[in-house]
């Protein structure tokens, strides 16, 4: 990083990578989205509400949400074993818990909503990008939601707090903090951190990430508007 805070990929400290989201990219899924977030290329497909298999997982009082985050073997530099790793299982869990507060599951007892995420190419911050696509795909599936979920990471690189850590920065950096926010309800639904932050930096880092989440929200909203309100109707 240069003295005046220009990062290795030419971004300023508080600048996001390029994000583009396409809604409804899959024919078979009830809802879907494709996101490019920097070099991340991620597909999300939503099925349901539908019958739960295995049946014992069904909840008579509420629907359930399941989530699978999976990386394609060709998505990273060294081929990845296609079997789900412990990292992927953990990420699937935190993504599910980040989406759950937004989805109104009470209306669909004994059913499941399945969210499948496939990382076709991975860059830093793939869990956030995956979550952004998954939230849009849920909305595209017409599932009632309290809010969207928007995610973005912040971190510490060369002693400075930066927004949206890329792969190189994640490897060399001092901290990485993925955050997900329900922007209209002001609730943080995912927060992880690895690295080392002073208490003051922790606050700044979180605030920086939250600002990023709100910007991601605008991109998500626009993508949904483009599909559903093409002629400027509301």
């Amino acid at each position: 990083m240069t003295e005046d805070g220009i990062r290795c990929d030419g971004r300023r400290l508080d600048e996001l990578r390029n994000i583009s989201i396409k809604v409804g990219v899959l024919k078979n899924a009830d809802g879907s989205a494709y996101i490019e977030f920097g070099k991340n290329k991620i597909l999300a497909g939503v099925f349901g509400p539908r019958d739960v298999h295995p049946k014992h997982m069904a909840n008579p009082d509420s629907g359930i949400l399941r989530c699978r985050y999976h990386m394609s073997p060709f998505s990273v530099t060294e081929r990845k074993n296609p079997a789900p790793s412990r990292r992927e299982i953990e990420i699937s869990k935190v993504i599910k818990e980040a989406l759950q507060p937004a989805v109104i599951l009470k209306d669909y007892p004994r059913t499941v909503i399945d969210v499948f995420i496939e990382v076709l190419q991975a860059d830093g911050g793939s869990r956030c990008a995956a979550l952004d696509a998954a939230a849009v795909a849920l909305a595209d599936a017409g599932i009632p939601m309290r809010d969207l979920v928007s995610a973005c990471a912040a971190g510490k690189v060369a002693d400075r707090i930066v927004l949206d850590v890329n792969n190189e920065e994640d490897q060399e950096g001092q901290a990485d903090m993925p955050v997900a926010l329900m922007p209209n309800l002001g609730k943080v639904t995912l927060l992880q951190l690895d690295g080392m932050l002073k208490p003051e930096e922790f606050k700044t880092c979180m605030q920086t990430a939250l600002v990023g989440c709100k910007r991601v929200y605008e991109v998500q909203r626009k993508a949904l508007m483009e599909k559903y309100f093409q002629n400027g109707e509301q």
């Binding site: 818990e97 507060p101 329900m182 609730k187 951190l193 690895d194 080392m196 208490p199």
Partner: protein
């Protein structure tokens, strides 16, 4: 189904009590259960600890052995923390491959110890890029009474503090054990994990199993001896406001100091 009705009743009782500033076991909101640490419980391990945090009980063993370094980390020793919930620890635990909760538990415990840089891994190298010392810290939950994250983390830290590192000499590029010579592990800092649960608008430290069954969300924050925040994991099916999270980070630091004092007596 029955358990859901029970959870609902428990939740109402727990919430009613929280409104008066009390908890179901009489603790204050930011009070941990008594932590009892016993070390050296498994003499065949290089280090071990048996930790009780309220009704939760963990046994951790540390095994130390020469290993090949990771290809991209040839100048560092190996540190791996695992955790498992034994089938005898909980009526709902099952033998077999770990489920997502157990995987999360193990990864969060590992992250806390790794990211605080508790152990100076550079000091565990025998021959750069070829041979290093591996430390394997395996925790088993033997009785589950809530807050397995902190209990496993404390047991792992206590296990590491209690361990003695054998000495290996290099002969023909292979490590050979030197009998009777050991040293203390290269400790840089003391990580303390503090887990909090949100129930309604209340945030409580060190939730019991009953409190966990009706919590809205959970957060685990690990701090080091210098008062830095090094690892965070939010869990549970709801969220936190930014203000609540900052409050949690402050609580993690203050509560962490007390536990760290307890660790210092083990050194």
């Amino acid at each position: 189904m029955n358990s859901q009705i029970l959870d609902q009743l428990k939740r109402e009782k727990i919430l009613d009590l929280l409104k008066t500033g009390k908890r179901i076991d009489g603790r204050s909101l930011d009070e941990q259960r008594p932590l009892i640490i016993e070390t050296g419980v498994i003499p065949k391990a290089n280090g071990s600890a048996r930790v009780k945090l309220g009704n939760t009980e963990i046994i951790t063993g540390v095994k130390i052995q020469p290993d090949k370094p990771f290809p991209d980390l040839g100048d560092k020793g190996i540190l791996i923390c695992t955790a498992e919930i034994l089938p005898l620890a909980d009526p709902n635990a099952e033998p077999g491959p770990p489920n997502e909760e157990v995987i999360e538990l193990a990864r969060v415990v590992d992250r806390g110890i790794r990211e605080t840089e508790m152990i100076d891994l550079h000091k565990l190298v025998l021959i750069e890029n070829k041979s290093v010392i591996g430390m394997f810290i395996d925790s088993s939950v033997i009785d589950s009474g809530g807050n397995l994250f902190d209990a496993c983390s404390y047991a792992s830290v206590a296990g590491i503090l209690s361990c003695t590192v054998p000495k290996w000499e290099i002969k023909d590029e292979a490590p050979v054990l030197v009998e009777g010579v050991t040293s203390k592990p290269p400790i840089k800092t003391l990580p303390v994990s503090v887990t909090m649960a949100r129930i309604g608008d209340y945030i409580i430290v060190d939730p019991t199993k009953d409190e966990e069954s009706c919590m809205d969300a959970r957060i685990t924050i690990t701090t080091n001896s210098d008062g830095n925040i090094c690892a965070v994991q939010k869990g549970g099916s709801d969220g936190f406001t930014a203000e609540q999270l900052i409050q949690c980070s402050e609580t993690a630091l203050t509560v962490g100091r007390k536990i760290r004092k307890q660790f210092e007596t083990l050194m």
